[in-house]
């Protein structure tokens, strides 16, 4: 990967100068040509920062230019790349937000940055049907969009796994690219790096902290044309993403949840305050003028049809009640439900309860 001198200057500024993004932007403006930062940093710095100008950067044995060189070499060595506002493929949607990141680390397929992007997020704990629907929805959306999501358990994971089937997924991490949080997602991280794209604005080795999730959520919203919240409690992080999306003028979509379900309160609130209600992928695709394909119908036995009809009519039901309503023995109903689960038409939600998808 080749970086221009200007890009190297921005990478160096982000990685080595310990200050906030606003000050960095001021430094860039003062420099005129970013490349000047590498050679005239002390002077520019003194002009911009009144107090403690020499605290933001403590030079080591290497000069800033040499340090910039070392930074790009390290990126190369780790198989990563850096995206700065100077790069050709810096997402325009991200540049439009009020606090765009000066530097994004990336690992995987860089071409995904140029695609249309849509964000799918869900809280870590969500009803089984919502988890399954998140995966299916992400899979369908990923035929037309790069699906952008976080990296947490539950909703994010389901979305990433669904979109991975079309190799069209971008995960934005709240920590350095070499850190895996949660640790159980090590294999998911590998797959996304191989078949999708991992993004992060944090340097290698930086760990996730409370504030990094907030900052990351602004990127999720900023990168995309719209955000779908599949499940959110009353204080879920997914709601922060939705709030950012509204702030940036993006569309917000949400799954409707059964009233009284704690894991869906946030979604219902979003819908009440104007988010678009989504029950199938076409609801989202239509908003962007895309016509999706019909899902192929699966052949079912008469018994399975009966069981499915019962579940479609009554929502989440216990196996025994399904059996009674469909006029089957419990073990016959269990077999039919298991078959329907394999065909992706129902989902088991704990306590021997099933619901139709």
């Amino acid at each position: 990967m080749h970086y221009s001198q200007q890009e190297k200057a921005v990478i160096w500024l982000s990685a080595r100068v310990r200050t906030d993004d606003r000050t960095r932007a001021a430094l860039l403006r003062a420099a005129g040509d970013p490349a000047r930062l590498l050679f005239d940093f002390k002077k520019i710095c003194a002009a911009v920062i009144k107090d403690g100008a020499n605290r933001v950067y403590i030079s080591g044995t290497l000069s800033p230019a040499e340090e910039a060189e070392a930074l790009t070499d390290e990126l190369e060595r780790r198989g990563c790349f850096a995206v700065t506002p100077l790069s050709d493929d810096y997402p325009a949607s991200l540049a439009a937000i009020s606090d765009p990141p000066l530097l994004l680390y990336g690992m995987g397929d860089r071409a995904l940055l140029g695609r249309r992007k849509f964000c799918v997020v869900g809280s870590r704990r969500l009803p089984a049907w919502a988890e399954r629907q998140t995966g299916l929805m992400a899979e369908e959306l990923s035929r037309h969009f790069a699906v952008v999501t976080g990296f947490a358990e539950g909703g994010d994971r389901a979305a990433a796994a669904g979109a991975l089937k079309n190799e069209n997924v971008i995960c934005v991490l709240p920590n350095g690219l070499d850190v895996c949080y949660p640790a159980a997602h090590a294999s998911l991280k590998e797959r996304v790096a191989a078949h999708g794209l991992l993004l992060s604005e944090y340097a290698f080795g930086e760990r996730a902290a409370k504030y990094t999730f907030y900052a990351r959520n602004r990127l999720l919203a900023g990168l995309c044309e719209g955000v779908l919240v599949t499940a959110a409690g009353s204080k879920s992080g997914a709601l922060i993403t939705a709030a950012r999306a509204l702030e940036y003028g993006r569309d917000v979509f949400a799954f409707p949840h059964q009233p009284g379900t704690l894991q869906g309160v946030g979604c219902n609130e979003l819908i009440k305050s104007g988010a678009a209600l989504v029950t199938e992928a076409q609801d989202i695709l239509s908003a962007y003028g895309i016509l999706g394909e019909e899902r192929p119908r699966v052949a079912l036995t008469a018994r399975e049809e009966r069981v499915l009809a019962v579940l479609r009519a009554e929502g989440c039901l216990h196996t025994a009640i399904v059996a009674e309503r469909a006029g089957l023995a419990v073990f016959e109903a269990a077999a039919a439900l298991s078959s329907l689960e394999i065909k992706n038409l129902v989902v088991k939600s704990g306590g021997n309860r099933y619901s139709a998808v």
Partner: protein, 507 residues
């Protein structure tokens, strides 16, 4: 004069003949025991001396040497007391005319000459009978246990005087009659499926598990009746045969937990607490090796309540016995193999707070906590549990059929039919149930048709089942087909089997 009396020592579940030789010489009075006796055997000296005196016999004066042969076998316990006393009497010529050469003497003596019962009597009798002995003198308190040994003359005695009276012919004792074995003669387990409310899914899983000899994991929130269900398992298992009962009785007798009735008539139901140590589960002991919980559950059910709370190494120790049906324990006292073919039934909560999947209460656990909790059960152990089923807490008011609850007897009938089919199928294979099938039997008896294979393949893809689940699913499907009296494994059987694999999904 040298007296030779035969007694038996226990080595694991086997009896080993021990000859008690007594010689009385002239010289300074002394009383020595040689031949590797342990402390309890050496203490026989004082017990026998008092017992003789208080039974109005003479304690001989002279140099007394008592030898236990073979000399290289360590002798344990108090079962030698009677043999020592009789050999002393014989050597001091107080038993003139009595033939004691083909009689086995077993019993512990009290100071007043009463005979006390010994642990592990039945295995000793069975071994001795195998060695050709047919006359036994045993404590009357052990009579119930001894009655089940047919084809031998067993004389129950209460005191040392009675023994001598019998031997000299002054007051012969009538031999014990042989008792017929009656299953469930003494029913302690009153659990019955009739009293289990609801739980249709778990009931069915329990029936399948027992029918095929599969292990069972019950997962559910606290207070949903997991323990209640587990207690019903023995009530639907096939009745014990006499051979099985004898084998179980041997183990229980050695462990000293045999009840009043003298023989085990019901399948054992063992519930070790989750603080149980590895040794208490596997068996062990300082010098003598005692059977552990796994062996005590032989032929019955080992129920582990709150499975994740058990010590990990304790659980891992069960892996090999679960495969082989026996456990070999090596200790300083020797190496012993105990049978340990039991049905494992375990229960656990779905998550640390217990409310995961509940409709009424909210689960407060994070996904990481739930994962950590489930990870306490290792994959290889889970691999050996064919059925994993959720026990739910639904209120059955919504169900019209909730009034009808099947009794254990009805379920047991179906189980017996399925077991008969399996016995016929595995004739000559050395196994009896579907759960014991190896790769060879799986290929031979459980061929799936193209449709069945296609189902399994899609199940693996869609439900993300682990590779090791395959064989398990087929075995359970075979049992379900047996319950339906179907020669072939049909798709619906495979589907039902798949529905019992809730923990095989990869995260």
């Amino acid at each position: 004069m040298i007296a030779k009396i035969v007694c038996y020592a226990l080595n694991g579940l086997e009896g080993v003949p021990v000859e008690v030789e007594t010689d009385i010489n002239k010289g300074m009075p002394s009383y020595e025991m040689v031949g590797l006796p342990d402390a309890a055997v050496k203490e026989a000296r004082e017990r026998v001396r008092s017992a003789l005196k208080n039974s109005r016999f003479l304690f001989p004066v002279g140099r007394i040497t008592i030898n236990f042969a073979p000399a290289d076998l360590r002798k344990e316990g108090a079962a030698f007391d009677l043999a020592v006393a009789v050999s002393l009497l014989k050597a001091s010529e107080q038993l003139v005319g009595a033939d004691v050469s083909d009689t086995v003497f077993l019993g512990e003596l009290a100071l007043n000459g009463d005979l006390r019962p010994v642990a592990g009597l039945l295995p000793l009798l069975i071994s001795a009978k195998g060695h050709g002995f047919t006359k036994f003198i045993v404590p009357a308190a052990n009579a119930k246990e001894a009655r089940f040994l047919g084809g031998a003359h067993i004389f129950p005695t209460r005191t040392l005087r009675e023994v001598v009276g019998h031997l000299t012919g002054a007051a012969p004792i009538a031999p014990l009659g042989t008792a017929a074995f009656v299953p469930h003669a003494s029913s302690k387990n009153t659990a019955d499926l009739m009293f289990v409310k609801g739980q249709p899914v778990a009931r069915r899983a329990l029936e399948v598990a027992v029918a095929g000899g599969h292990n069972l994991l019950l997962v559910g929130p606290p207070g949903t009746g997991k323990t209640m269900l587990a207690r019903c398992i023995p009530s639907v298992m096939p009745d014990l045969t006499f051979e099985e009962a004898l084998e179980i009785t041997k183990i229980h007798s050695v462990a000293g937990v045999l009840g009043e009735e003298g023989i085990v008539t019901e399948r054992p139901f063992r519930t070790p607490h989750h603080t149980a140590t590895t040794v208490s589960m596997c068996g062990g002991g300082n010098r003598t090796v005692h059977p552990g919980e796994m062996s005590l559950a032989h032929g019955g059910v080992l129920f582990l309540d709150e499975l994740p709370e058990y010590n990990r190494s304790t659980l891992e120790a069960m892996r090999q016995p679960l495969e082989d049906g026996r456990i070999t324990v090596s200790r300083a006292g020797g190496t012993v193999t105990f049978p340990a073919r039991f049905m494992l039934c375990a229960s656990m909560n779905p998550c640390p707070c217990g409310n995961y999947g509940s409709t009424e209460r909210t689960c407060t656990c994070t996904p990481a906590e739930i994962r950590r909790y489930r990870k306490k059960i290792s994959g290889p152990l889970l691999d050996r549990i064919d059925l994993q089923v959720e026990v739910d807490n639904v209120s059955y008011d919504a169900l019209a059929s909730s009034a009808r609850q099947e009794s254990s007897a009805a379920v047991k009938e179906r189980v017996n039919v399925a077991r008969t089919i399996q016995s016929a199928r595995f004739e000559g294979c050395g196994i009896h149930t579907n759960a014991e099938m190896g790769e060879r039997e799986l290929a031979h008896f459980c061929g799936l048709n193209a449709e069945g294979n296609a189902i399994l393949r899609s199940a693996f893809e869609r439900m993300k089942l682990s590779a090791r689940a395959r064989g398990r699913i087929i075995k359970v499907a075979r049992t379900i087909a047996d319950l339906a009296a179907s020669e072939e494994i049909l798709p619906e059987h495979v589907f039902e089997a798949v529905s019992y694999r809730m923990y095989d999904k990869f995260d």
